[in-house]
Every structure is written in C-alpha cells, then in structure tokens.
Symmetry: C2
C-alpha cells in the first residue's frame, strides 16, 4: 500500500481501489471463490435447504479487549446461521471505510476476520468496499452475510419451545456488552473483562448431531441480552418461560460493573453465548456436552418452559425467592455495542 | 410508529426496535421467510450451484431523480447476481440508520425496495437494522446481499472473453452517475436526467436462454463506468479489447454535463446497464433481442475482443479515427455515487 491511511480514491473502483483489494483485502481474506474477482461468487450447494443471514456491525470502539469489529462480524453471522442448526458455508464481507482510517487498523481488522473465519471453518467468498468522506461514517462499519447448509429434518426455530422444555446457556452473561462499555473513552475503566465473541457453530453441530430433534430452539442473546431474547422466544412459541436468577452464570466483574453503572446483565449483549431450549430428558446430558467444549465450560440449566403464567410471559424466579415479570426494555441500554 | 424520526432506541433490540420492525420494516419488505423472525432465514435451494453477492450503498443524496438508495440497493445486488447468469432467489437487507432520520424518508426508501424486489421477482428474506448516534453515519447506508440459482452448464465469468468476440451494451452510458452528481447540493443543476437504476435479471435470463454458451461475459459497469469494467475484463481474460467511440450510446444531457464538468462518461457509473461479450456470430441477434426489452431499447454493438495490442489493453477507437489506450483512473471521479 502506498498510503498509510485510507483515501477517498480507495473507494473509486479505479486503480487505487484495485491496489487496496489486491494488496490488502484479498490476500488477507481470500478463499478460492473470492479470487474469481467477479460480481458474485459461485459456490457449491449440496443440500436442498439453506440458511441465509445478514448483520451490520457498528461497534464503538472498533478495538476492545479480546477482539475487534472484524472477528465480531465473522462470529456474529456464523452464529446467526448456527442458530438455525445450519453449517456455515460462505460469508460475504462488505466494508464501509471512513477516509483517513489508518491502513494498519484496517489490516488488523482484516487479519482478525480471516482468523475468525478459519476458526469457524467458513470461507469468505465475496465482498465489497466503499470509502466515504471524513465524517460520513465513524471509522469503519462492516456487514457480513452468510449462507449455511441445512440437513434434512433439522427444524430449529424460535417458535418450537414446548411446555416442559429446559432452558440452557453455554456460559456467563453480559461479558461482551460490559467489556465494550468499560473501554469507551468516556469511561475508560480498567477491568479484567474480555469480550466473549466466539464462533458457536462447532458446539451447535455437536449438539445437533447428538440430540437431533430434541433441540427445539437455539438463539444467541446478542442485542437486548438474555432477557430480550427469551421474551422474543416466549412470544414466538406462545409459552411462558421461567428463568432462575440464582442459576445464571455471571462473572463477578460483570455483576460489579453492572451494579456500579445501574445496568442489568440480563439485558446486556453477548457475542459468544447461545440459549438452548431442549426436551427435559436430555437437558443434563446437553449441559454436560456443552461443558466439554471450550466455549461451553460454564454451561448451566437456567430455566424452564411453562408454569401458570400467560403465554408470552418471561418470569424471573429471583434469588431471594420472589417472582418478577420481565419485559423488553423500551429504548436503548447501550448503543453501538455490536 | 410513535415517533416521526428515528431514535437511538429504535436500534436497541428492545421494545422500540420491535415496533420499528413490526410496524414499518417487516410489513413493507416481508416475504414469507422474513416473517419467521429468526436469526437466519431458511430458503429452498433447487440447484447445486449458487451465486452469492454483497454490496453496500452509501449514495449521496439518498433521493435523486428516478430513484433512491433503496431501489438502487435492490437493483444493484440483483444485477450482480444476474451477471453470473444466476436467477436471483433471495435478498437480505441491512439498514444502518442515523438517529434523527425522518421516518417518512425511511418509509419511502423501504417502499422503493419492496417495489424493486417485486419487479425483479426476488424475495427479501432476512434483514438487520442498526441505529447509530447523530454524526456516526450520514442518514442511511444499506447493505444488500443476494443468493442466486445457477443452472448447470452456465459458465459466465470475467475471464471468458475470447478473441473475435463482440462487446455489446444495452443502452446509454453515464446516466446514473451524472444524475446523482447533478442533484448534489453544491451543484443542484436542473437537468432532464434520471438514474438508469433497473433490475437486469429478466433481460439476462432471456439472453442466457437464447444464446447459452455463446455468452462469455456479463458485467454491469457500475463504479468506474464502462472503461474500468472493460479494462478489468481485458486483464482477467488476458485479451485486448477495442471500443468504438462513435458506437457508444450517450444521452446529449450526459455528454453536455460531462463536458461542462470535465468528466468522461466512459468512467461514470451506470446502474441499469450491462456489458455483454458474445461470440461474434450471435452479436446482431443479441442486440436485436436486447432492443425488445424496455431496459435494452438503445442496445448497441460497441466493440470487439482482439487486435494487435498487448493482452490486458483497452483501446478506444476514437470518433475522429485515432486510437487511444485507456487506463483505469487512479483515484475517485465521483465519491458516494452508489
């Protein structure tokens, strides 16, 4: 690269765009299909059903303990595909860069994306790069979209939760959101926290292979946290969900910081967690399976579907023995957390 | 919608996000799969090969004569899929909204997207919405990604141009770029120009069905225009390409404005044009076919592959009988044109 910073010309489609693509983006991100340099990638599709997902990432700051906007963007879309029980196959990467962005920062982000894609076993097959004038975007926004393969007979969806099912989670809640919040300029708190951003597709593949149709719902509690996600599932499946506060795994640093800032970790974003709603008879075995994975070492059974409550309710059985109805927050707890 | 403008809370994942989704976005954009409200959509895939493409749209201004950022985003990705000879099947829509955006503007954009998708015959199946604080993005950026079906035996790619082939285009060049430029605040020129933004998949399907393997390359000359796109193809296919200036269809308003501003329409973006590189024996017939489509009424044969030039060269045979080597521009002619 001739320049240390991104210039408007890098988004022109001309010579400078080609230089950015050929010297930086493609060498770092490229899978085999990427190198065809066509308007669209061509990929083989061995199954009759696909999962398809998209997400834009606008996290602020773009670098934070344990990760950055790049691996977050790969893991997030890999996980969205995995939550349908799909095997992630191909990912697209669309970058919107602010004029003046340091090329070294972009390189670091791209390298994290490539490493995250390798870890998840998914190919980055196509992309797009736009550069906008200073002030038209804050540093870098990334969209990733993904295609996953669905095997016959897999029907995992937010409307499949059944009375009697158990609610499981693969680990501690609120890590990502509190990490990003703590390192914002206006706070700049020094904590031991790191994002939990991680691909969950290998764990999901193991769960699906082992328990098949006994797995009813998979959902990653990102924006809005565990509470909002469970409330959505309660509404989609038209069931009540009970959550046991004392079973929820929470890191002391997360609960401490939450108390300090007046936030509820139940509503804080996670980027490497999944909620698993399974038939009760396999719940213990599923927790044990999750604990054997590095991304599931703190897995726990945190609640159940059903009880004498209105369909669509989310009920928190509090640590001191009370019951509290949990609703979605109206507005924004933490903007630009992912 | 309770509010006339977009608020940060609309991106929270909570109650306000749900209101925006349920009351505005999903009713306007929804296909059948969209309504499943899961992390990823599930779609049927009847072929063994897929095309996959992504593009972010950052055009400024977001409304311009003949279109807006919404239909541009749908048509652009539909066209990228069509350029591989694929039949567009499913589109994702990811919105990044600036706090304070008028809800009426968003509605108008979404309605244009829905209309463009209907026209192209493609389903919008999944999406994402982020809201960022004022000043973190300029009004609205949109990413669309798309999946298309490839039939066996279709092998259209930028590296397939052969010596002797003809170069065709479906109409006038530079319309989109000059339209957007003319209505920028700093110019605000009053012209009769409109964007050519339009889905080309129906035209492509007709071309592929009629001429099959005789079609070697399809490419839409967006950023960088006809010149940059042909130069890319020359490099990918390792052939020389000759372009006949006097055959290039250009609207008088485009050539007039280009002359005024010192721009070359050959490098100006198009959003409803395609370059078709075909075996010479079907060139006349292909031009005739394109002219029968509303998006091809000004179709023309504008050049040929080959000649006594270095592989990778793009040569312009000028209107006054000269020959000029055309290179990519280094930097940016027109930022934020798409």
């Amino acid at each position: 690269m001739d320049s240390d910073i991104i210039l408007l010309g890098h988004g022109s489609g001309g010579e400078m765009s080609h230089q950015l693509l050929e010297q930086l983006i493609i060498p770092i991100l490229s899978g085999s299909a990427f190198s065809q340099r066509n308007d669209a990638a061509v990929i083989d599709c061995p199954t009759r059903q696909l999962a398809f997902s998209t997400d834009s990432y606008v996290v602020d700051p773009i670098f934070f303990p344990g990760g950055n906007i790049g691996d977050l963007a790969i893991n997030g879309t890999v996980n969205d595909l995995a939550m349908r029980g799909a095997i992630p196959l191909a990912i697209s990467v669309a970058l919107i860069l602010e004029e003046g962005l340091a090329v070294d920062d972009l390189r670091r982000i791209l390298e994290s994306m490539a490493a995250a894609a390798r870890h998840a076993g998914v190919d980055i097959v196509t992309g797009d790069t736009k550069v906008v004038p200073r002030g038209s975007v804050d540093q870098v926004f990334i969209n990733t979209s993904g295609i996953g393969l669905l095997n016959d007979g897999v029907s995992i969806s937010g409307d499949q939760a059944c009375v009697g099912d158990r609610v499981l989670i693969n680990g501690t809640i609120g890590d990502h959101g509190m990490t990003v919040l703590a390192c914002r300029e206006e706070l700049a708190l020094s904590t031991t926290l790191e994002t939990d951003s991680m691909a969950l597709n290998h764990l999901v593949a193991d769960l699906v292979a082992t328990f098949g149709g006994k797995i009813h719902v998979l959902r990653d509690p990102t924006r809005g946290g565990v509470a909002t996600t469970l409330k959505e599932i309660a509404l989609q499946s038209q069931v009540a969900i009970q959550l046991n506060e004392s079973s929820l795994p929470v890191k002391p640093a997360v609960s401490g910081l939450s108390a300090l800032l007046g936030l509820d970790p139940l509503f804080v974003a996670n980027e490497g967690k999944l909620l698993v709603i399974v038939a009760a008879e396999v719940a213990d075995e599923a927790v044990a399976l999750m604990r054997r994975h590095s991304v599931g070492s703190d897995a726990a059974d945190i609640g159940a579907i059903g009880g004498d409550f209105e369909a669509g309710s989310l009920i928190l059985n509090t640590a001191i023995g009370g019951q509290r109805r949990v609703e979605m927050l109206s507005g924004d707890l933490l903007p630009r957390i992912c």
